[in-house]
């Protein structure tokens, strides 16, 4: 029985994106309805998929019904199902936020948004490395369009850097895939894993070079230092709902690193075995440190949040870099938390920005925001969650990560830097909050920089703040259902860390034997 539901997260955005293009000259309201209904439908579908994956084995969907590894295959395991669900939920909330006005700032927002979803979902689902390249391209082009949305010189420049650096990444990706195909003769990731285990020793250097080339590409996507240059500007200058959605884009890079280097270059992969075990952890820790320095050195809440994304990637990859089952499970628990909370902070920063016409989200004194209690509460919640303080989800995820990496050689470094990064985050957010909410110019001060009267600031209705409130509300839910989520994460980590499950689901039973018995398997 083929489960056609698996491709729904691809088909729905593709279809709806095309329909919205055809309606490009219709009123925005119609596009909104189309976009939101698509997101809602994807959310329902991915919810069902998540539920199915939690209960059952890894599912595959073979396009065109060509036998693997000759056709393209979509693979749904627990991790990809979770990523799809996170993306769908985040997308719906970001679109709901954008529907309060951001989408009017330029054309084609809704169509681009759907294609963005198509690219992200495809990257999570695909089991084919060239197909991954294609979805990366879709992701890149639509995100480029979204970064530019709304215009402005800074956005155009940031978008230019973003697309240039990522195009370099794309061409390098092709080189890496080319080497793998040239030597192993396949593009299917499960098949690549089997053939890697069987590859002769004289090809070791070439295959390892290919693995490192691909790592550079994925690290660029995940914004690992020193490949994270594109991120602070692109995330800091683009419109808020786009930046919030992009919180999941770096996680695509993290996901792919986890997938490829636990499958194709897993510890069973013969000559390509454990390729990253010496590289990932130090790179991630340096990223974490640099991100924390950026957090401490920034003077604008939007920019602080952009650097928080880098901190979060560094933390995730440092924990993943130990390549232990428990640690990966902890990373899987941390991933939804950090994605939703950084996204929420982008939205909160924008809500603050719009009620401070002179200073925006910058850390300079301005008149008080229009709704200080509401915004202060939102900011405080987000800060507590992101800073990893109890009783919100950041604390529990952090404790779980610290406990699970305790046996790895890098444990003292991870502990020190993760906790130190948390302290810097707390300090930076404390500074930002105390300037924005406390260091006030008199409310009746009528002089501003231009010596004219103030523009009226918007007053938010429930619908304006609802997406941010909802995102922040996820944090206590993650705590409340901590037991279930941890259980799920361990099961997901089982599937990730042991390539046998994945290979047998894709290629059929017993095909993973070369991994388990490298000498006499054939």
């Amino acid at each position: 029985m083929i489960n056609h539901l698996i491709v729904s997260p691809l088909l729905l955005p593709l279809l709806m994106g095309t329909i919205i293009i055809l309606n490009a000259n219709q009123p925005v309201a119609r596009q909104r309805i189309l976009g939101l209904s698509s997101c809602l439908a994807v959310l329902v579908m991915t919810g069902i998929l998540l539920f199915q994956s939690a209960e059952g084995p890894i599912q595959t969907y073979v396009l065109g019904d060509w036998p693997t590894p000759f056709g393209i295959v979509m693979v749904l395991d627990r991790l990809s199902a979770m990523m799809l669900f996170i993306t769908a939920l985040l997308a719906l909330l970001c679109l709901a936020y954008a529907a309060r006005g951001t989408d009017r700032q330029g054309k084609n927002f809704h169509a681009l948004f759907q294609f963005q979803l198509l690219g992200i979902n495809g990257a999570f689902l695909t089991g084919d490395i060239f197909n991954l390249f294609v979805f990366f391209e879709i992701m890149l082009l639509s995100s480029y369009g979204l970064v530019l949305h709304g215009g402005g010189g800074l956005r155009t420049r940031a978008g230019m850097h973003y697309v240039m650096l990522n195009l370099v990444g794309s061409s390098i990706f092709l080189v890496g895939v080319g080497i793998l195909y040239g030597l192993l003769g396949t593009l299917n990731m499960a098949d690549l894993a089997v053939r890697m285990a069987l590859a002769p020793a004289e090809n070791a250097a070439l295959l390892q070079a290919a693995g490192l080339i691909l790592f550079a590409v994925f690290a660029l996507k995940a914004a690992l230092l020193p490949l994270c240059f594109w991120l602070p500007d692109a995330y800091g200058f683009t419109s808020a709902p786009v930046a919030a959605l992009f919180a999941v884009m770096t996680k695509v890079g993290v996901y792919v690193i986890l997938r490829v280097y636990c499958l194709v270059f897993s510890e069973f992969a013969g000559i390509g075995a454990s390729l990253l075990s010496a590289w990932l952890l130090p790179a991630a820790l340096i990223t974490l440190t640099a991100g924390a320095a950026g957090v401490a050195g920034s003077r604008d809440l939007r920019r602080i949040t952009a650097y928080l994304v880098i901190v979060s990637v560094g933390t995730l990859l440092a924990v993943i870099g130990t390549f232990q089952r428990e640690a990966i499970a902890a990373a899987i628990v941390y991933l939804p938390h950090t994605t939703f909370m950084t996204a929420a902070m982008f939205l909160v920063a924008d809500l603050i920005h719009r009620q401070r016409p002179d200073a925006g989200s910058g850390m300079v004194p301005d008149r008080p925001v229009g709704q200080p209690t509401l915004l202060g509460l939102l900011f405080l919640t987000a800060a507590v969650a992101i800073g990893g303080l109890p009783p919100l989800s950041g604390f529990f995820a952090k404790v779980m990560m610290l406990m699970t990496v305790k046996d790895s050689a890098g444990a003292p470094w991870i502990w020190g830097l993760v906790l130190g990064g948390g302290l810097l985050t707390l300090m930076a957010l404390g500074r930002a909050g105390s300037v924005i909410f406390w260091k006030l110019l008199p409310a009746d001060d009528t002089r501003n920089g231009r010596g004219t009267a103030h523009d009226p600031v918007p007053v938010y209705a429930l619908a304006d703040v609802f997406p941010a409130v909802f995102l922040l509300g996820i944090s206590p839910l993650l705590v409340l259902f901590g037991g279930v989520i941890t259980e799920f994460a361990f099961a997901a980590a089982d599937h990730v860390i042991n390539p046998v499950h994945y290979i047998e689901a894709v290629l059929g039973p017993d095909r993973s034997l070369p991994l388990l018995y490298p000498s006499g398997g054939e």
């Binding site: 080319g178 090809n203 009783p391």
Partner: protein
Amino acid sequence: MKTPLPPIERVPDCCRGGLVSSILPLLLFGLLCLAWPRVVQGNIFAVQWAWVPSLDLDLAFRLDGLGLLFGLIITMTGFFVSLYASSYMAGHQQLGRFFFYLHGFMLAMLGIVLSDNLFLLFIFWEATTILSFLLIGFDHHKTAARESARQALLITGGGGLFLLMGILLLKIAGESMTISHWAASGDMIRDHALYPAVFICILMGAMTKSAQVPFHFWLPNAMTAPTPISAFLHAATMVKAGIYLLMRFHPLLGGTSLWMATLVIIGGTTALWGAIQALGPCDLKRILAYTTLMALGVLTLFLGGRTVLSLTAAATFLMVHALYKAALFLAVGSIDHQTGTRNLDHLGGLVKSMPLTALAVAAATMSMAGFPLFFGFIGKEIMYEGALAEDMFPVFATVATLFANSLMTAVAAIIFITPFMGFGRQKMDPVKEAPWTMRLGPAVMGLLGIVFGIMPEWVSAHLIQPAVFSFQPDREEIRLVFFHGINLPLVLSILTLTLGSVIYRYRTFLRHRMNTAIDRLWITTPGLYQSGLDNFLRNAGIFTNTIQNGSLHFYLFIIILTLVMAVGWVWLPHVPGILIFPVISGPLIAIGLFAFILASTGVVVFAKKRLSAIGGLGGVGAGVALTFMIFGAPDIALTQLLVETLTLIFISLVLLRLPPMDAVKKRSRSRTIRDACLSLVAGLLLTTLMMGILQVPLDRNLTAFFEANSYIAAHGRNIVNVILVDFRSLDTLGEICVVVLAAWASVTLIRRTKEG
């Protein structure tokens, strides 16, 4: 010091909301009193629900003697402070928020002392950190308030991280997360390899929270908070959380020479430093803050001991201090509230206008100075007994206690005599006595100081001993008694009073000397903190701006450099082998093409005019297409040619609109050389990688399948087409999306550029 008060008749005497909300602490106090007799008999109240089993985090609460002592202090001061604040803060705009924070803080404090699970304790611990940030910064229009709030957040927050680390290390060492299960396992932990790390982490948590040297400076700065908050957080409760932590951990971690030596030295230093500095300021609140430092130091000092005597001394002094210090803070607040100043130089003669406050202050300061009949005297006696009974450095402990106490006596005299008896240098306006809500707290707590002083046996049996027994398993009975007979502690007590009066006599001289001496200190922790923080923030900014410098060229350089380094790491050793024997086979025309492509590339790189660069680019494209042609792939060659032509047209359209190349700023020579080197290495690596692949026979697994099935299964004669539209149709669909999106993005961009 303080903004002048608005005319008194406009401000209501107290706000009803504050009055009503003081029911909460009163209720909790009542509940604790109900449980009190049972706890004294040795019963323990405990409840427990599982929360996050994988973390060993349970919702476990437990009321034992120590929890009761702290709980009573917290709820009692909580009640008086909230009653007091309903008058003190009357007319403030954000009263609701104030009482919300205040009571939230009180509940968090209760949570700390009643938690039986370490993670739960930590959750409440961090809650007090955040709430104290909000409370210290409550008067946020003042720069000092904001800065002190941030300072307290950073220091106590950092200490919180150490505490968390200590808890996790303890868990790794195999210790139970349930505090009441610790009784028997102290030896296991004390011999564990992780013991020093655990000890340091826990100690850091306690030291930052309880403001021990060198982290002490946040406490005096936190006095920018409204007085009820200073009284509650920074005298009676929050700063005692660190002390509570040390008491709780005493049976588990205490008793080692590391523990004793560290605590005695740190505590003694803090006590002396705090007591000396208390002579310096003129601001009454600041003086009180330094005396709090002294008290916290003394408590730490006694917790360094392991005898029942020194621990009893700690518990007794904890109570003594909570009573007189909260009373004094509230009374000072009253003075401030009624007169508009709390500067010693401006105050005097208040005994006539504020008689009740004067009485309360008199009682509290007498207790503080340790006069007989007052609770402070009992405390002082047991302190000297405890100091003499320390295992480590008893002489240092005794001398430190003696000097700190003498200074306290002098400061107590200053606090009472100057504002109430003396004469202000300026003539003061007529002053009214504070409203009853503000008098009740100091009066009751001052009175308790006398009551407890007269009946120490009762206090000892009902409060101190149950508390000490819960963290000192020996259960040795130490009774507080009114008169011990003539012994060394009594002599020391008398010496303290004498020395204190001498110091009081020469206070002006000492203050002057002290202030100049502190000014001359070339290194101080507040200074180090400030300059360290400033330097760090500045360097973080510089570092970030250096990395994130906005130059696309720089970004690309680094990315390619990273790639070269990563690939070169595994591949560079193989490069010579591949380059030495290049396989030059194939037709002569191929070698000609190779030379042509190379030459065209040279043209692109070295061209002086854009047009010639574009021409060179066309040459490269044509060369590649021709290569496909001669190696038997005419369809690919055709596609390539088409793509090349289109690209060329686009590039020409764009590039020829740019200013001519010689008009663009020349790049420096060193940069050109650097770029050239990197490009050459990158090119070399890429070329040799490709050559390396060619030496391995191509796996025809996929190709064979496509050849076999193209016609039979997919019904297409052209294999490439079938691959594109059937076998890998999803790729094609995706690429169509990409092309559409790219076209679209360009149109949007061009349209916008035109409009803008």
